[in-house]
């Protein structure tokens, strides 16, 4: 139940919405769009369409026109003669009309390209027909099979999707996109062990693949293998610290009882830090400096921001103080000594207690970061 007195007013909400902070788009974005448009080749349909819709200049030269007319008449006459000689009278002429489907049926690559375009344009039914055709013309091409599988996926046919990938894999066991999509396919069907097997193959080819790592973590969680689950989340977070999935990975890791990575709010930013590195006395200082760089960057950009470092160590106060003092010194090295007052320290000679999802945890070593904007005037004391 929400305390209505605590609720923010609608007027205040409207005001906050007008101040909603925006991300700065990359500086080169418009140029990149224009380059992409320049590189883009017009499709067959666009060429045909532009030929018929664009204006053309026609120069009329009587002599050339007469010659062209003569050639045309001659061609027509010869065509009629040849047709009467070669064609049996009973032959049907219905299929002689050149059409796009006939042209595509002879060219696997054309079928593939058009089919892929249709799939991207969210027309999976039409795409599937052409991609299947492309696959029949070139059964050994794994890319065709991959896209055919994706067309089945777009139709919601997981069984056929899987068969497409499996057919293509017989010719190429190392095709990463096929292995990855097979992993996804089994995962979506709830066949966890099979899915895990394919993600393992992906990770053997590309050890840091984000999708395979993340889903492997989820599967281990579902299988109740918390040891492997923790190890996978740690591997994921060692490589990826930004974006929604990274924050979710920290939640999973913490829920599994491991706090080597934690989310800290520094100013407006949420930052993922490896607490284990920061609190390990044996760890080289350079590793800790690298770990602290995102925090240092926020402090550099916000001169009014103050940071409180709070250390916990079950082995005693001295150990806790040493840990946070070292982190402070590293940050001051980067920020410059006049900024030293902005970073304050607290330490406790006890384990850190925390509660997540109704589970209580005790960390023998723990680090908390609190940031706040420096107050210009002394605040009133309230009773």
């Amino acid at each position: 139940m929400v305390d209505t007195e605590m609720m923010i007013s609608k007027d205040r909400l409207e005001e906050l919405l007008t101040h909603l902070e925006e991300q700065e788009p990359p500086a080169e974005l418009s140029r990149q769009v224009m380059q992409r448009l320049k590189r883009r080749k017009p499709s067959f349909f666009e060429k045909v369409s532009s030929f018929f819709t664009a204006s053309h200049t026609i120069t009329l030269q009587p002599l050339r026109l007469a010659a062209a007319g003569l050639v045309l008449c001659l061609t027509f006459f010869l065509g009629m003669q040849a047709s009467s000689l070669l064609d049996p009278p009973s032959r049907s002429h219905d299929g002689d009309q050149p059409n796009l489907a006939a042209a595509l049926s002879e060219n696997g690559e054309a079928s593939f390209l058009v089919g892929r375009g249709l799939l991207v344009a969210d027309r999976p039914d039409q795409a599937l027909a052409l991609l299947t055709q492309a696959g029949q013309l070139n059964p050994d091409n794994p890319e065709y099979a991959l896209w055919q599988g994706m067309a089945y996926l777009a139709q919601g046919d997981l069984e056929q999707e899987r068969l497409s990938y499996q057919r293509a894999l017989t010719g190429n066991q190392q095709a990463l996109p096929l292995l990855l999509n097979l992993g996804h396919n089994y995962l979506q069907s709830g066949e966890l062990e099979e899915s895990l097997e394919f993600y393992r193959k992906v990770l053997a080819l590309s050890p840091d693949h984000p999708g395979a790592l993340y889903n492997t973590g989820l599967i281990n969680q579902q299988l109740g293998d918390s040891g492997r689950e923790i190890s996978v989340w740690q591997q994921y977070l060692a490589n990826y610290r930004t974006g929604r999935w990274a924050f979710r990975a920290v939640q999973h890791l913490n829920s599994a009882g491991d706090y080597s990575y934690r989310v800290y709010r520094v100013g407006a930013r949420r930052i993922i830090l490896n607490q284990k590195i920061l609190l390990d006395p044996e760890r080289p200082e350079e590793d800790k400096r690298r770990e602290l760089m995102p925090v240092i960057a926020v402090l550099s950009a916000n001169p009014d921001l103050q940071l409180d470092l709070v250390g916990f160590a079950a082995e005693g106060k001295r150990s806790a103080k040493t840990m946070v003092s070292q982190l402070r010194r590293i940050m001051i090295d980067e920020l410059g000594s006049p900024k030293a007052k902005r970073i304050r320290l607290s330490w406790f000679g006890e384990a850190e207690s925390l509660q997540i999802n109704n589970n209580y945890h005790q960390l023998t070593k723990g680090l908390l970061l609190f940031s706040r904007v420096k107050a210009e005037k002394p605040k009133e004391n309230r009773i």
């Binding site: 919405l17 991300q23 990359p26 974005l29 990149q32 605040k379």
Partner: protein, 189 residues
């Protein structure tokens, strides 16, 4: 005087393709941020924005001059972002989305930090709104989009837009209250 959107579209369609960059520059911020709200990644947002502007370029001849260009662009962008989200979400366990958020303890606010914190809280709470309601609020209050234009964009009547805005604000208000309440309880423990 800067050319209007409609004038630029006309110029592009009649062969002055380089003019399209003016439209990209004019609206890249709004579109990039819309994409960012969906994918929460700067790289993905940049890629999606580029894809979107290329897609719009290809569809430019379908643009109806009687309608606001921004509305038209935003509609295509929302669909593009939604498609992207759908593709991403299909591959993630449902249980992953149902889990409760676990956030670290927050600092006590002072006068200026309070504003900052309320903004953060609002951004976090907006994730609980549907895409349409969230974008409706942002378009109305952050970009000051006229109600009439919003009505066209979301296929609603004027009164429908007003009602939806009020409901979205109320939902946001409640969600912020819930989150704040949860944090206070955590602090108390």
């Amino acid at each position: 005087m800067e050319p209007s959107d409609e004038q630029i579209v006309h110029q592009v369609l009649t062969g002055r393709k380089s003019q399209y960059e003016l439209l990209v520059i004019r609206y890249q911020r709004q579109i990039y941020n819309l994409m960012y709200r969906h994918c929460q990644s700067a790289d993905d947002a940049a890629e999606l924005t580029q894809e979107l502007f290329c897609k719009v370029y290809e569809k430019l001849d379908l643009y109806d001059n009687g309608r606001s260009f921004f509305s038209w662009l935003y509609t295509i962008s929302m669909n593009h972002a939604r498609d992207w989200s759908r593709k991403q979400q299909r591959r993630v366990f449902n249980s992953d989305q149902l889990e409760e958020r676990a956030t670290p303890p927050e600092q006590q606010p002072d006068s200026r930090a309070e504003h900052r914190q309320q903004l953060d809280l609002m951004v976090e709470s907006m994730e609980a709104l549907s895409t349409e309601n969230r974008e409706l609020l942002i378009l109305r209050y952050t970009y000051s989009t006229p109600l009439k234009e919003l009505a066209g964009l979301f296929d609603l009547s004027l009164s429908g837009v007003k009602m939806r805005l009020q409901r979205s604000l109320a939902a946001l208000q409640v969600r912020m209250g819930e989150l704040e309440d949860g944090r206070h309880r955590n602090d108390d423990q």
